[in-house]
Symmetry: C2
Subunit: 361 residues, 2 copies
């Protein structure tokens, strides 16, 4: 017994010595420096911060050998769809963005981020990792020269700021709302007039009444932009963003050039950013919401009648797009089938627990 | 323009060449081989699989230099609290387990996994990364010679299998139920008789009627053990497991011996396993639930009266433990305060969206 115990200790000592005496990433590992353009400004520290998390984790795991320099929207490339275009064109190696900014090119881009009445963050993760989502979207993005790695989620967003109450479907008629993509197309079916306005122009537009309503993200980000000062009603939920995913895109050419270990490390760093962003939003939103309500914001759930009308309009839109876009249809059909099973399961254990805890405060 | 373009291409070519010509992890990086004991059997592929995900990702990111050999419960160390004890004693470097198996030593161990009427998986992530949870639990585990890294979650579990219906609080009186830890102590306050029975013995005990009820995990795992054949009623939710976290524990001594890069890679691998396990459960539970219901299982929500009684009993238990255990009190007070804000926020956007989607199928 004593001899065995001695050998064990000696062995452990050797292993420890070996590990600390040598650097884990040796001097001849390749030094790589890439540029990442974020689609978001630095002021949105949570969503912009996702790219910084990725860069930081990659540097830590490679002893600083693989450096990713993060640029905010506008520094080297504008925000919005331009971030993804910059990767496609090869002017930067990577970006961190929401692919649904590119729905103008193909509505299939939306599935990587969010579609109206789509899946929640956990359901998206399940669809990507154990459903067909990961495979289908990898194929789709490969066709655009892109390699996608999920790296963040905001959770269900808020339904935006309104100068007047939305009590019935008819109140959507003529509503000039800052909202983009497929959600704007759904609202247009109900008579609203969707507007594409950059983040910085929303406040003055709402203030002057050039627009009647605007959607942004959630309490933490919305509070920063001060929308509560120019619109009284804060609606929920954003039925168009039930779990918007933020993704790191690498050009296929650059992805293929990475050593396998760096590929693995970049995927892991994105997984960490994925958890980190969601955690940060969940931690920061409650206080912001309390402060907004304390300062007079009127919280309102969308009436069921309004949600039902939007849901029907969304389904009509999906049928129209599916009829002319087979790529969209292929992904949509799989997405909806998977989502249907998910909703069945989530209303049992997860839903009943959350509803009980909400009432048991 | 042409010259600049040429230089750009030449530069890109060089970088790519350098990256592919050399291995990312060089020959003199330390080779380390560690043993990890899982608290779970291989048959529970999802929860046991968390450790395999960690090992696989670490190997990929280090070019096979850092090897983690995974052993199932019983192979070198028994399941349950023994896995954590094996790390504390130094007989293995790591384990993958639920720390709440060690509540017999100190009920504070429960907060890393789940406590009755505790936080959901997302709320736990927020508390760990942006609340005080991470700091408080690191301190607590350091006192036991352990370094903890979250690496998995099951989501809200099911409330277990019952031979008879639970229609009122009085039905808990005398109920012999296979349930452990703090949840068992809560039920004991309501007259139940909690039983500690290993997974493999639950089926015969339920069949013979030695016990009246048993909780396990959720549809996917429960179906494997065939509980539906010996108990008709399947209740939800598990109010004692609203988001049980599974954690990788490394002995402090071994953690300190790792090069910084390997520490970073191990943390990232655990973050990936964290997302992976949740995704796998969410993807696999719906089909299992459908099959169980199709085969005659009767799904039942716990009556509100029963949940209210259990909630009150849980709060009584927390007050009693807090009065005599200052470490528990310190963590509990922070946990509850954070959870209260989380529940406020989750019933707005997230809750209203999930409830609408559940009804809009």
């Amino acid at each position: 017994m004593e001899r065995r115990s001695f050998l064990k200790k000696a062995g452990a000592g050797l292993a420890v010595g070996a590990a600390t005496a040598m650097p884990a990433i040796a001097a001849d590992a390749p030094a790589i420096k890439w540029r990442l353009t974020s689609a978001f400004p630095k002021s949105l520290d949570t969503i912009y911060g996702g790219a910084e998390t990725v860069a930081k984790r990659v540097a830590e795991a490679t002893g600083g050998k693989f450096q990713i320099q993060v640029f905010a929207a506008g520094e080297i490339v504008p925000g919005g769809p331009a971030a993804l275009d910059a990767v496609t064109s090869g002017s930067v190696e990577m970006c961190h963005t929401c692919s649904f900014y590119s729905v103008g090119k193909d509505p299939t881009f939306a599935f990587d981020t969010a579609v109206p009445f789509g899946m929640t963050n956990r359901q998206m993760d399940a669809w990507y990792r154990y459903g067909n989502g990961g495979k289908l979207m990898r194929e789709f993005f490969a066709g655009h020269g892109l390699y996608n790695i999920p790296a963040g989620n905001t959770g269900v967003q808020m339904g935006g700021w309104y100068r007047k109450e939305i009590k019935k479907v008819a109140d959507l008629q003529g509503l000039k709302m800052r909202i983009g993509g497929l959600a704007g197309q759904v609202l247009a079916k109900l008579g609203s007039v969707p507007q594409q306005i950059p983040g910085g122009d929303i406040y003055p537009s709402l203030e002057k009444g050039t627009i009647d309503a605007a959607e942004w993200i959630g309490p933490y980000d919305d509070q920063k932009l001060g929308f509560n000062k120019v619109a009284k009603y804060y609606y929920y939920p954003a039925w168009w963003e039930g779990g918007p995913q933020i993704t790191t895109f690498v050009s296929q050419k650059h992805w293929a050039s990475l050593p396998k270990e760096y590929q693995a490390i970049l995927e892991l760093a994105c997984a960490d950013a994925h958890v980190e962003m969601m955690a940060q939003y969940d931690a920061k939103n409650p206080m912001a919401l309390k402060q907004l309500v304390g300062a007079g914001t009127q919280l309102r759930p969308f009436p069921k009648e309004v949600l039902d009308a939007c849901y029907k309009a969304a389904n009509d839109l999906y049928a129209e797009i599916s009829a002319k876009n087979p790529t969209f249809k292929k992904v949509y059909d799989d997405f909806r089938k998977f989502q249907s099973d998910q909703n069945l399961w989530f209303r049992i254990a997860e839903g009943s627990y959350s509803n009980y805890m909400a009432s048991a405060r």
